[in-house]
């Protein structure tokens, strides 16, 4: 090989190295920029949370949970608010979970794939992105005026149920889609009916994903404020809903469904809008509770997903 050829090859290699160095620079520059962006976002969030916690946590006490709201900030508590939130969550869960799972299973396993189901699918995905106050307006028209359900826990539960229904449908479908087709065929080949296949296989194997979706949707519902104000939540309630159990037959009572309500985020909003700074402390304390509840629920969801993923191997 002549020296000229060798030299030109050497020049090529040098060129290549320079090029690599240049591209590594770009890599590094982006890495640093990305890290800065991440730190900025995280630190801002952290500062906000710490600020909230420093204001709110000292206010937390047993009485804060057992007192009704009051004109005197140091005596005010969130009893009616957390009981309202709890009652509405139960109502929401009872209507949205069965409906959402059933609809998800139907769309994924029963419905034939045509333009109509395609349209329905598209609309469900869109519904999940609609501003929540729109649901409040629809619910005001439908549940309060049309069905005359009043400005009650039932109305609120149904409203939030509608709001989270698309989330449950979509996560249910995604969860059952992860079950391999070979499992469906195995069940059918043994003579299983479609329902037996769904009940014995699809639902158990995808229950981790479905449960995750359910918890995430409930943790979304618990923080919702706008639609509940729209359907007529009260901001000052100094009594509890009717108890769900009675001493005499039939022992169970659903009177509480018709009671007026308030919820934690609304109580918080009410306190924030007052001039006295002591009420702002109450709001911060309520915020801490909401934050912790949301974190715990999402934590449970992540844990369930992790456990199920470990357990299921195909």
């Amino acid at each position: 090989m002549s020296t000229a050829v060798l030299q030109s090859e050497r020049a090529q290699v040098l060129d290549m190295r320079a090029n690599i160095r240049r591209r590594q620079w770009v890599d590094l520059a982006f890495g640093v920029a990305g890290l800065l962006a991440l730190l900025f976002a995280l630190l801002t969030l952290l500062a906000l949370i710490i600020d909230l916690a420093m204001t709110g946590v000292p206010r937390l006490s047993w009485e804060f949970f057992t007192n009704f709201p009051s004109r005197f900030p140091e005596r005010a508590g969130i009893l009616s608010a957390w009981v309202g939130s709890f009652a509405i969550m139960i109502t929401t869960a009872c209507c949205a979970i069965p409906l959402g799972i059933a609809a998800g299973v139907y769309l994924e396993e029963y419905a034939s794939k045509n333009w109509l189901t395609g349209l329905i699918e598209l609309n469900i995905i869109n519904l999940a992105g609609i501003p929540s106050i729109t649901f409040g307006l629809m619910a005001l028209g439908l549940f309060v005026y049309q069905f005359q359900l009043g400005q009650s826990i039932l109305t609120a539960g149904l409203t939030l149920g509608l709001l989270v229904l698309p989330i449950i449908i979509v996560t249910t479908r995604e969860a059952i889609r992860t079950v391999p087709n070979s499992i469906r065929e195995a069940a059918y080949a043994l003579g299983a009916s479609r329902w037996q296949m769904v009940w014995d296989h699809l639902l158990p194997y995808s229950s981790g994903g479905i449960l995750t979706g359910v918890i995430i949707s409930l943790s979304r519902a618990i923080g919702e404020t706008a639609p509940l104000i729209t359907v007529g939540a009260l901001t000052f309630i100094a009594f509890l809903p009717h108890p769900p159990v009675m001493a005499e037959f039939p022992f169970l009572s659903f009177q509480w469904l018709k009671d007026p309500f308030t919820v934690m985020p609304i109580q918080m909003f009410n306190w924030v809008s007052r001039p006295q700074p002591e009420f702002h402390v109450n709001a911060a304390a309520t915020g801490v509770i909401l934050l912790v509840m949301t974190l715990v629920m999402n934590g449970i969801a992540i844990w369930i997903r992790y456990r199920f993923r470990q357990r299921l191997k195909w």
Partner: protein
């Protein structure tokens, strides 16, 4: 085509055509399935072996845009399992299937084998236990799993999983057992194990097996059908088909000139 009059027919495929949407995959296939014999379907990849096998238990009914025409008569009653008024669930309860890739349910070993009985509404614990043991024994798996029936089936090795799938299919005593390349996902030792098992099962069952392994077909099958581009080219005893094929295409295939 030779029809053997000394043997009982278990099923009979008559003029079966099949298409996926516009794509024609089987052209008027006809062949006998003899009782307590192993019938192998061989042919190059994509010639329609799996498609034909899945017609036997109406698996195609699960999917849209599949069209078939013709008959598969189940003897002795000569019931056409492809008839529109025959429920696919009935067919699948009478004809068992084992798939190419082992597909145990992510449940316990016991529940996998018991599932066919549960589908039929069998509740009696002692009956289910007996049948699970018997099926696992027939599938040659009992000694390996008898101490860990409640443990998950997915923890078994590939070969064990496939024998579990065979046991699962046997537990409901199907009239015909369909096997779609049951060893193609397995190592050579598990493959030998399953081949021996299949030969053993012939005593009690009628078996149709798809394979692209010619040695497997000639070793285990009594009858072999050679398919090519959706046509059944030749059907004969394995001895005759592998030693003195009548059609040049069969000869080319078994001597490895294409495939």
């Amino acid at each position: 085509m030779t029809t053997n009059t000394n043997l009982n027919l278990r099923a009979e495929v008559k003029d079966l055509s099949f298409s996926y949407g516009p794509k024609k995959v089987l052209n008027r296939v006809s062949m006998p399935i003899y009782e307590n014999r192993i019938t192998a379907l061989i042919g190059p990849s994509g010639c329609g072996k799996t498609t034909l096998l899945r017609c036997f238990n109406r698996m195609h009914d699960l999917y849209a845009a599949t069209n078939y025409d013709g008959e598969i008569l189940l003897h002795p009653e000569k019931r056409n399992v492809l008839a529109r008024d025959v429920d696919p669930m009935e067919v699948r309860m009478r004809i068992g299937m084992v798939f190419q890739k082992p597909n145990p349910f992510p449940k316990s070993i016991f529940e996998n084998v018991a599932y066919g009985l549960r589908v039929r509404g069998v509740r009696k614990r002692s009956f289910i236990e007996d049948r699970v043991e018997k099926s696992l024994q027939q599938a040659g798996l009992w000694s390996e799993v008898k101490d860990r029936l409640p443990s998950p089936a997915t923890a078994l090795s590939g070969g064990q999983q496939q024998r579990l799938c065979i046991a699962r299919a046997l537990a409901t005593e199907p009239e015909i057992l369909l096997l779609d390349e049951p060893t193609s996902a397995l190592d050579p030792i598990s493959t030998t194990h399953i081949e021996e098992l299949i030969t053993e099962l012939k005593k009690d069952w009628t078996i149709v097996i798809v394979t692209h392994n010619l040695h497997q077909a000639s070793r285990t099958a009594d009858y072999t059908a050679f398919m090519y581009l959706g046509d059944l080219i030749e059907f004969d005893t394995s001895d005759k088909l592998f030693t003195t094929p009548r059609d040049p295409r069969t000869e080319n295939y078994i001597t490895g000139r294409f495939g």
